[in-house]
């Protein structure tokens, strides 16, 4: 049994499904059903968040291995087990998913008015899938959750999205599916090579370098779409623009982290030689992503699209950090992912606030909002600064760590990656100026209301997290230091063995 004394991770994963079952039994008038569905979903997700705090409290940061491990027989004779567990890397992602879900449900409280029950069901199913992705320690189990995410997200974009939702939903689905299918082939190939799909075992299994190359490419196809990396990013702006606010938040906050998590959990530890070999390639396309996406963001007239492109740029920093293979780079990437999850989620919520009032995301339709919405302006300011990476906010520590890590690889990498911070400041500050400052000359903005208590409740935890991560980052890095250290050592050892072998052969 694990240190919690009960199957904590399974409960975390499947508790939302209990909420789904309860919502399914609700009968009655439409308004009553909607209200009951909202409350059930909120309480379920809050309870899940509370449980995840137990996980957080009982987690032992000094141990770099997997904790809270649970196993159950599934297909024992064929090397597939139901195995759950978290290490320092996945723990905080589980937390991110469980914390963002209640916020998203609150954000959808008033904006989703049609088919509320179905929306809440989809969101709770999504939560199960997200937690499952980060908590599973079996590759097949992981794959099930990883691809299962598609179903609720497809429906969320397609049913409750904007005018071009059908196009965006199908594009999202097909892009991600195409990548995932190659991932499945890689799972099968790993199974046939190692005879198991157990992740910790696979991490220690030495695949031959030639096999590694192919496996890496297959994994890359899936994770790069999910991250998304340039040039496979085009689904993201569409999906973000069309998705309802809460859908965008969870997409930016958690779903796109799955790709980077995949790199960290599978590509780098399981395929060290191939990762080393492909690192320059990853750096190249990451740098392109950072600079290109930032420039594209500068040109956007739609707020959501702008933030979507900024996500592409920020995730470029993340992939640079992962493939530096040193502790600073990987820790920075992890921190950047967490901060991006909170900050970009918050920025999408900020967009949602004005969208709910004016029903447009056109930047030009706004201006001078700070006059009528001071609280909103301050909140938006904080998240803008965090997105830029101002010291004292969440965005700072991650970017700096990644830059330090990449400096060990090459000055140019660090320099070009750092361009993202400069360009990021440009497009975010410019966005802020166009929305908040200037004369308030649009008639419909004159009567706009500031944040409602519900919205304040949504933003409060995010503000808190942003400041906490900025002021005292080591309370987060402490969780993954041991795991990252282990991962780096493992990588160095594997690479060392390979070079030694090459030396002997030569």
């Amino acid at each position: 049994m694990n240190q919690a004394g009960f199957p904590l991770l399974s409960m975390l994963t499947f508790l939302p499904l209990v909420g789904v079952a309860i919502i399914l039994t609700i009968r009655g008038e439409e308004a009553v059903v909607a209200s009951n569905a909202r409350w059930t979903a909120l309480w379920t997700s809050l309870l899940t968040a509370l449980l995840s705090v137990v996980l957080w409290a009982k987690f032992d940061p000094s141990d770099g291995g997997f904790q809270f491990v649970e196993t159950a027989e599934w297909l024992p004779a064929w090397g597939i087990t139901y195995k759950m567990g978290v290490d320092g890397i996945s723990l905080l992602f589980v937390m991110l998913a469980t914390v963002l879900t209640p916020i998203c449900i609150l954000a959808a409280w008033e904006t989703i008015q049609s088919r509320v029950r179905e929306f809440m069901i989809a969101f709770l199913v999504l939560e199960t899938m997200m937690v499952g992705v980060f908590a599973s320690l079996d590759f097949v189990l992981f794959y099930m959750f990883f691809e299962g995410v598609l179903i609720p997200m497809y429906l969320i974009i397609g049913i409750w999205g904007g005018p071009r939702r059908v196009y965006a939903a199908i594009k999202f689905f097909l892009y991600t599916l195409a990548g995932s299918l190659l991932l499945l082939l890689a799972v099968l190939a790993m199974w046939s090579a190692a005879g198991t799909t157990d992740i910790p075992t696979l991490m220690t299994h030495a695949f031959s370098p030639r096999v590694q190359t192919w496996l890496f490419l297959a994994l890359f196809a899936s994770f790069a779409v999910k991250v998304p990396m340039w040039p496979l990013h085009t689904w993201l702006p569409d999906a973000h623009v069309e998705a309802p606010t809460s859908g965008s938040v969870i997409l930016a906050g958690v779903l796109i982290k799955m790709g980077a998590y995949g790199f960290l959990r599978f590509s780098v530890p399981m395929l060290p030689d191939a990762s080393q070999e492909f690192a320059p390639f990853i750096f190249a396309i990451s740098v392109i992503a950072v600079i290109y996406a930032s420039l594209v963001a500068l040109a956007q007239t739609d707020m959501k699209k702008l933030i979507a492109y900024s996500s592409v740029a920020h995730m470029g920093i993340v992939t640079i950090g992962i493939f530096t293979f040193n502790a600073q780079g990987i820790s920075g990437a992890l921190f950047q992912m967490l901060s991006h999850g909170v900050v970009s989620g918050a920025l999408f919520l900020c967009v949602g606030v004005v969208y709910d009032r004016i029903h447009t995301r056109e930047i030009a339709r706004y201006g001078g909002l700070s006059d009528r919405m001071p609280a909103y302006a301050i909140t938006f300011m904080l998240f803008t600064m965090a997105s830029i990476g101002l010291p004292g906010t969440a965005g700072f520590a991650g970017e700096v760590l990644v830059l330090v890590g990449s400096l060990k690889i090459s000055l140019w990498l660090s320099l070009l990656g750092g361009m993202g911070m400069i360009l990021g400041a440009a497009y975010m500050l410019w966005l802020y100026r166009r929305m908040m400052f200037g004369a308030l000359d649009k008639i419909d903005l004159k009567g706009i209301l500031d944040l409602s208590p519900r919205e304040i409740a949504i933003f409060a935890p995010l503000v808190l997290l942003t400041l906490w991560m900025g002021i005292y980052p080591s309370s987060f890095t402490g969780f993954f230091e041991a795991s990252v250290g282990r991962m780096v050592d493992h990588h160095q050892a594997a690479i060392g063995a390979a070079t030694k072998l090459a030396g002997v052969l030569r």
């Binding site: 027989e73 599934w74 297909l75 024992p76 004779a77 064929w78 088919r115 179905e118 097949v140 794959y143 099930m144 691809e147 299962g148 598609l150 179903i151 497809y154 429906l155 397609g158 049913i159 939702r165 059908v166 939903a169 199908i170 689905f173 097909l174 599916l177 195409a178 299918l181 190659l182 499945l184 082939l185 099968l188 190939a189 199974w191 046939s192």
Partner: protein, 479 residues
């Protein structure tokens, strides 16, 4: 001579004749009674199959082993679902059309089932042929059962003419094999062909003809042309039946023939099967995109699924056969379920077949829409549904054999085909137009759709029993 081997088939055939006689003396059409009796007979046969003796019988003409037991049970379940699906529809035909509810209908399904059971337990090319013909003749009649509609008659005729041609090819192939190898028994053939020197060109030609005939029966490219037309034209319950049990029988037969007697010639037939597989997968992926009729769409989808099944066969290993068997079982439940939904697509007593008629179903009938979502995602192979597991166990065989091109093409096809499945889901949920509700569903359809959806959704929880049963069945062929 061990005559007890064929007791399930004998009992089932006798039941069929008894039900036939009983049906004639009924005052009304006797459809309901006969359907019930047929389901009962199928159940009895199932018990006999499970409890029956194992081993070869009738001088090596048939064999009962765990492979045939597995397949026979699957076929019996599929046929039972097929009868169940027809019960309401056949009694309430579309306005202005003759009733399909005549007592011959379930009896024909029963005889087709006997034929299929013989197919999967054949251990001689002649028994095989008898089984194929019994099954085919029954289904030709079923396809044309709505004899006052031109579409159904056309479907029946088309299926009959092309099917007869395929049977001819098969028989010709069998005669060539017999001519060049001197035997029709599976074990004699296997023994005789073990020596590479005994393999002549004539035998290979015969083998190719056999493969062609069987490809027709399982609707694989390039012998798939009849499928969309027959699926569309035949009465929907008949289509539902054709999409389940006969698929199981044809594929199981394909596996047994190629792995058993021609197992040593794997180098010869593997390339054929690989081509058939790739052709089926890609054709279905692209051709189904443009279909607006749900029955045609499912026809093309079934061609694609045969393509995936062929991957397992092409691997030619126990792992591959295991994958085929798992795939067949999950496919039976998905297909029966989705066809239950298609049969339920009626407004004011008129059957509808256009996928546009599903628009707005998510609002007008959430339960049916949810079931369809389960089936469509499962057919597309999205986890956690059973369709994903089916694909998993199939592709594992290809990967195991290092057949990477086949595996990658299969994955590509399955990615493309996801498009037409999710397009249907899009219509049901994303269209803002409020759909007009369908007529009230009869109980039988709800039961089949519900059972199918539950199996498809929750298969992942307890996959081990089916997987180990399939593994045991597959191993028999490689003893």
């Amino acid at each position: 001579m061990n005559w007890t081997i064929a007791i399930p088939e004998i009992v089932l055939a006798c039941c069929g004749m008894a039900i036939l006689i009983l049906g004639v003396f009924q005052k009304d059409d006797g459809f309901k009674l006969c359907s019930m009796l047929v389901i009962a007979a199928l159940g009895v046969a199932g018990v006999l199959v499970v409890a029956g003796a194992q081993g070869p019988g009738y001088h090596g003409m048939v064999v009962a082993d765990s492979f045939s037991t597995f397949c026979r049970i699957t076929i019996l379940v599929a046929s039972g679902l097929g009868v169940l699906l027809s019960m309401d529809y056949n009694q309430h035909p579309d306005a202005g059309h003759q009733k399909l509810g005549r007592f011959e209908y379930p009896v024909l399904i029963l005889f087709a089932t006997v034929g299929m059971m013989i197919m999967v337990s054949a251990s001689n090319l002649m028994t095989l042929y008898m089984g194929v013909e019994l099954q085919s003749l029954s289904i030709y009649v079923l396809a044309a059962f709505a004899r006052d509609t031109t579409r159904s008659s056309e479907a029946g005729l088309k299926y009959f003419v092309l099917g007869a041609l395929a049977s001819g090819l098969l028989l010709y192939g069998i005669s060539l094999v017999y001519g060049f190898a001197g035997a029709t028994g599976f074990s004699e053939l296997a023994r005789g062909l073990a020596d590479p020197a005994s393999v002549s060109t004539g035998l290979i030609v015969g083998l190719v003809f056999v493969v062609a005939g069987l490809s027709f029966k399982s609707a694989a490219v390039p012998f798939h042309m009849w499928t969309p037309d027959v699926y569309e034209g035949a009465p929907t319950p008949v289509t539902a039946f054709m999409a389940t049990a006969p698929k199981v029988a044809a594929l199981a037969l394909f596996v047994r023939v190629l792995i058993g007697p021609f197992g040593h010639l794997i180098g010869e037939w593997r390339q054929l099967i690989v081509l058939i597989s790739i052709g089926s997968m890609l054709l279905s992926a692209f051709a189904a995109i443009g279909q607006m009729n749900i029955k045609r769409l499912l026809a093309y989808s079934s061609i694609g699924h045969v393509g995936y099944l062929m991957i397992g066969l092409a691997a030619g290993t126990a792992v591959g056969v295991r994958g085929v068997l798992i795939y067949l079982v999950t496919y039976v439940f998905m297909s029966a379920g989705i066809f239950a939904c298609v049969i339920a697509m009626r407004r004011k007593g008129r059957s509808l077949e256009s996928i546009n008629d599903l628009a707005g179903l998510g609002k007008s009938d959430p339960a049916m829409a949810l079931a369809l979502v389960v089936f469509l995602f499962s057919l597309a192979g999205i986890p956690p549904f059973s369709g994903f597991w089916a694909k998993y166990f199939i592709f594992i065989a290809a990967v195991d054999q290092g057949m990477w091109i086949l595996a990658v093409l299969g994955m590509a096809a399955s990615g493309i085909s996801a498009y037409y499945y999710i397009r249907v889901i899009r219509l049901m949920y994303f269209d803002t137009a409020a759909g007009v509700a369908f007529d009230v569903r009869p109980m039988s359809l709800s039961v089949v759709a519900g059972a199918g959806a539950i199996f498809t959704t929750f298969f992942f929880l307890f996959p081990a029993p089916l997987v180990s049963a399939a593994e045991a069945a597959a191993k028999v062929l490689f003893l």
